[in-house]
Symmetry: C2
Amino acid sequence: MSKANVPYKIYLDESEIPSSWYNVRADMKTKPAPLIHPGTLKPLKFEEMRPIFCDELIRQELDDDTPYIRIPNEIQNFYKMYRPSPLVHAVYLEELLGTPAHIFYKFEGNNTSGSHKLNSAIAQAYYAKTQGLKGVTTETGAGQWGTALAMACSFFKLECKVYMVKVSYEQKPFRREVMRTYGASVTPSPSMDTNIGRKINAEHPGTTGSLGCAISEAVEVATSTEGYRYVLGSVLNQVLLHQSVIGLETKAACEKYGIKPDIIIGCAGGGSNLGGLISPFMGEKLRGEADYQIIAVEPASCPSFTRGKFAYDFCDTGKVCPMAKMYTLGHDFIPSANHAGGLRYHGMSSILSQLYHDGLMEARAVEQTSVFEAAEMFARVEGILPAPESSHAIRVAIDEALKCKETGEEKTIIMGLTGTGYFDMVAYEQYNNGTMTDYIPTDEDLAKGFATIPNVNL
Amino acid sequence: MSKANVPYKIYLDESEIPSSWYNVRADMKTKPAPLIHPGTLKPLKFEEMRPIFCDELIRQELDDDTPYIRIPNEIQNFYKMYRPSPLVHAVYLEELLGTPAHIFYKFEGNNTSGSHKLNSAIAQAYYAKTQGLKGVTTETGAGQWGTALAMACSFFKLECKVYMVKVSYEQKPFRREVMRTYGASVTPSPSMDTNIGRKINAEHPGTTGSLGCAISEAVEVATSTEGYRYVLGSVLNQVLLHQSVIGLETKAACEKYGIKPDIIIGCAGGGSNLGGLISPFMGEKLRGEADYQIIAVEPASCPSFTRGKFAYDFCDTGKVCPMAKMYTLGHDFIPSANHAGGLRYHGMSSILSQLYHDGLMEARAVEQTSVFEAAEMFARVEGILPAPESSHAIRVAIDEALKCKETGEEKTIIMGLTGTGYFDMVAYEQYNNGTMTDYIPTDEDLAKGFATIPNVNL
């Protein structure tokens, strides 16, 4: 590529914000396995999902065929409040590394929720509102999803009940307070408000909670409260659909300026960011129109892609949710306390799991001290303080750029920079003080998690 | 104005970032009073300022005549990392208020320092670097300036020593940690490292510090350390010069889209944001080319414009700095613990003080609960969580828009939204919990501060 006419920061015009989401399933030869009912083991039907999810979102969840789904005007208008997000040419990082590679990052942190999560939160709140619902429930780990949903609900005047993993609730009081400022109620999970919360508290006294457990509580409250539904910030097909706005904008910016990516890199927890970023590029790959090296990056402490099993598993600890086929470490797997709260989920999006299984993308696991080394390097030259989650992608982008330095290849690397780290300064403090540790689960640790994966043969 | 062709968010192109700063002093009939030496009471000369400030910055400080000063390429390139900042049409706030007024805000929070402070920090770091210095010292209250300077120094590989008001250092550990992540050293002030710090600690055991005291420490260290100079984030003429980039971009955006402001509103602590925002508009007003209503907003707890005296006073508690003529509450005035740390300075920019004295702008003092009410209202509809400082401007913008609702006037209001409130969640928590209080100093309280203003007759 020629760098000459590429601005440092590419902002598309408002008129270039996509008017449809792209549904990568439409181009997948092997479709992602459907959600199944844990009792019958049959694929869930529309009617069976209605007590949990909003109607229109179920339609999106089940639609494996429509390639483009129109973004309602109300959502497009909300997108204009913080989109298009910039695609930034990381010239200072390139200079620091002395690499011939061209590095770009799609920065999703320029909104108050601090991450890409708002892209789906506003869509889900909108569909809940148009269905005439009173409110929604959800869980949050690191707090990015909860914050995004609180903002979205406040905008559409919906009630919002957030179950926040207890350890985060206690360690991140400011995250909690942002949600409250946007009018959400925030409850530490496991709580004593729900059957499943009381059960988990009784079985594991003093537990600091997990995402799987908070999901169970949020689903229980949604299904037992009049006018409420449950919404989820990752993993589901509908979420990847909404997040495709990231990839569509990235692709539009690339085409506008003649940027041809060789490698696309994103962090992967449940897969919302990575799935959204890569969707339109993967579509081209699936249709044989282009080829890209696509890399998912996960923490070595929670390695669902690189060391997990591809199997049907429960999405939550309490087993109140449908089962999904995915790369999983087992629904009872508890990752060590690494700081990328958004990447601590035991499973992975069914779409991405299928694509990975089919050899259409790769995965890398990285350790957190090396992630924070990359984060600080990036922050100091690029001026953005990245979230720990996003910094996983930075780590691998730097690694790939350094490989280019060795080989002399002038590859173009695009990475997803999902958000900012303002609420993660405890982690940075540990890194700055040299007290951060790494943790890689042993095969025995993993075996315990795998033992909880149900034996489903379909 | 016609709203039809105005985008929700106006982003200028990179090529429209100003290539010169505008020096409003060039158009002032009555120039701001010069800094004077506290011993001789004579205006400070270039040579006398050299031990404290960088050479080029002194030239800018003393230059009352050159209207446009070229922005060096290195600074323009850094500006491209986060500028142009958007001028946003607050359509949702207008809708909520039901006002015929048009409200726009210039949002300076989309960078990691979280505020406009970076505009001057990068300039000051650049001039320090080109002078061959080893490092700089500074003070920080709320932490926005310290963070901005840490980022700027990291970019130019300069050492950075920050003296942080002790109460902030303790209450805002995350702010401190961001500065450390950018490689700065952060010391709570008053410290035991300096003569003035030891003196203040001895005289006021257990003191939690003040900005005036932190300034004294930073200046002492700069003047006693080889290869170091002191830099300041507000008050000085040079800072307002650099911050004119805010106003120049705002004006360019207005001209591009046919927006004609009637009222321009900014919060004022030392005056850096307000001065920068209004400079080019004030220039037109001074030259008789246009008229604007310009409103400075300050906290009722620290009302330097609305209740202060226009007099020469010390800029710092330790009296190690030059004296400036300004609206002041007295250099020993200690404002109550309001949450807008950036607005707690006892004095005010000499430029703004002169303009205010000459009737070219007005000032309002507002109480903090009403400020947080405005902040939360704004956050919920506009999706940006504003800093407490910025929210002072929001309060008055809302008040003016509501006046338009009564009168039916279709005024166009522009306000400076200086930054984000992610590190101010303790304040939001108090507001959310209903435990926030207001404080307005009595005339007796003010009299104590006034008694410390030296009697200078020039």
